[in-house]
């Protein structure tokens, strides 16, 4: 029974990290419709900045988090201005190829500048945990979960209770219509894409504390983030948290109770995407 309860806790804690990564992607893909395959690379930039702040300047990653978010917001804005805005009217395939290429470019830039070494940060709270009887709740992962919930709540509030949010939803629904009623569409896209990059960087800071920084660290998380927004449904921000929890707990159950389950954990999210798409098409057909 203890093992089962701990497995559920493990899954929920892991899902916090997934939700954090998926929140930015949910905004870019799900709300404003920019399919950003380089999302993981903005996470990687956040992780490296947190590592650099900690290793070179001695700044705690959590303290540097707001600065990193602002810095990567700037990187996102630059990316939008230089590349994304030019393909917004082109077929979606162009967008995908462009962001895919951007991802490769950023990864290789990191390899050239920083090498392939795995870098870790050291903080006093890294291994902190709360003991509830036999159960152990890891501190940084619980923080990631809380942060993801707060960020998704803030995003939800922004989208449904502010003018900027309404503009974003209007642009997502009908770009030309939004333009006709006087919305600065370019500005809305710029803000949405840059905020999405900043959110990826926030996840990157947590990843650097929990795991490591390396040029390829974003890849695994970005793939899972895509799975989560597919499961949640495009544009469904509250669903991101539930879909993350479902993925995290399913992975933990497979890892714990299926023989050799550790090797199957990557298959879990593919199966969940497959199941979701089949179920949706079945419902649609009815």
């Amino acid at each position: 029974m203890d093992l089962f309860a701990q497995t559920l806790v493990n899954g929920l804690l892991q899902s916090g990290l997934y939700a954090l990564v998926a929140s930015g992607l949910a905004l870019a893909v799900g709300v404003v419709g920019i399919v950003n395959f380089a999302h993981g690379e903005y996470l990687m930039i956040g992780a490296f900045l947190a590592w650099a702040g900690s290793a070179l300047l001695g700044v705690d990653p959590l303290l540097s988090l707001p600065v990193i978010a602002v810095a990567v917001y700037g990187v996102g804005a630059l990316t939008y201005r230089v590349s994304i805005r030019h393909v917004l009217l082109a077929p979606e395939l162009n967008q995908m190829l462009l962001t895919f290429g951007l991802g490769i470019l950023l990864q290789n830039l990191a390899l050239m500048l920083l090498g392939g070494n795995t870098r870790t940060v050291s903080t006093p709270y890294q291994a902190s945990s709360l003991q509830l009887g036999e159960l152990s709740v890891g501190g940084p992962k619980a923080l990631a979960f809380g942060l993801a919930a707060a960020l998704l709540g803030a995003l939800y509030f922004t989208l449904y209770r502010t003018t900027l949010g309404r503009q974003m939803r209007a642009v997502a629904q009908n770009r030309r219509g939004a333009q006709l009623i006087g919305i600065d569409v370019d500005r809305v896209y710029l803000i949405a894409f840059s905020v999405s990059c900043a959110l990826a960087a926030v996840a990157g800071v947590l990843v650097s504390v929990l795991l490591f920084a390396s040029p390829t660290v974003g890849l695994v998380f970005a793939l899972k983030a895509f799975a989560i927004i597919v499961m949640a449904g495009l544009g469904n921000l509250t669903g991101v948290l539930w879909a993350s929890a479902l993925l995290g707990v399913s992975e933990a159950l497979v890892q714990t109770y299926v023989p050799g389950g550790g090797g199957w954990s990557d298959a879990v999210f593919f199966l969940m995407i497959f199941g979701t798409l089949v179920l949706r098409s079945y419902r649609g057909a009815r």
Binding site: G115, T120, A127, S128, G138, F212, V220, G262
Partner: protein, 386 residues
Amino acid sequence: MKTLLMTGVLLALSGAGAVKVGVLLPLSGGGSVSGQAAKNGYQLALDEINRAGGVLGKPLELEFADDGSAPAKAVPEFVKLVTVEKVDFMAGGVSSATSIAISGPAKQYGTFMAWIGAAAVPVEDAFADHPYFFHYHPWSYYNFEAILGYFKYLKTYKKAKNIAIAYEDGPFGSAGIDATVDAFRKAGFNVVLTEKFKTGSGNFGPLVSKAKAAKPDILYWVGYDTDALPLATEIRQQNLQLGLLYGTPPSWPVGFEKNKLADNVAGLSLWLSSSPNKDSRTFVAAYRKKYGTVTDEYFAPLAYVNLKTLAAAINAAGTTDKAKVAAEMAKTNVSTPFGQLTFSPSLKTKYQGFKAGNWLHFQYLGDARVPVFPIKFAQKPMVYGK
């Protein structure tokens, strides 16, 4: 103008006929920590060789190529070195996967290979019939022999009986895992858990929960540097009581030694910079002088020894003829930072350098890797958690 022209001609003439060694290394990608360390070792050796008169009376030349830690990149780079750059000898080689990939072209061109890494048994199979393959790094069964020796010591003196094995599900972790489990059982250990994981996923919660239920004395982990910190973190968070966490990644994360979670984590190395061996001290002093820092990556001295012994064999042969150089290499008997180096047959290849007796077991103690076994090399007593 005339002087410049003459200088140019003289320089060109002095380069003509110089011995060229191609060095294939993972300078980028997953194996780059070891690859970069090896490159430093080669450059240090090159300086010393050329200061001492070079090879066959001319400065030795090195041609570096990056295999990107990927077989698909290694093959064209290898072929380019052999056919376009026309190197006389090949050195380097860290990863087993890239070494297997180039075994075909190496045999096709009859390339002389002075190889420093690639410990997996399939590499030994691939080069078994190659007449000019000199392998410096111990094969993986020698690594395991050393690990088993250490664990047997822990069984006798620390009452360690239960082993949990966590291995990454790629070729590095999975190859020979059944044989590993059998060997532990034959040695009288209870293998209480054998569990796969995805390297780089950082998701060790379920694995550690299962290990906690199995109550192992030793957690033997076969994975990569990316797994070191997440695993150590999860163990501490879930308060898994272990006698020893023992890992064998090809390299460790940068700065891991400074993290409190690294304390008492144990691992395997062919060499440590703190080794009291005279040749090791000389190497460390020369390395510090050239680079202003010290490394604990054993691929640096391994590459250094590799090039020095290859250059000595070519000089002793007095020619670049492969058969004659191989005959001289086979006679190698030199002291090195790792101990004495000679070449003798392994299970399948003719020229094997270092074997099980050269491994050191270390623990992260006080921000450094400290040798703790074999006892005669231990600089501090090992910390056993039970």
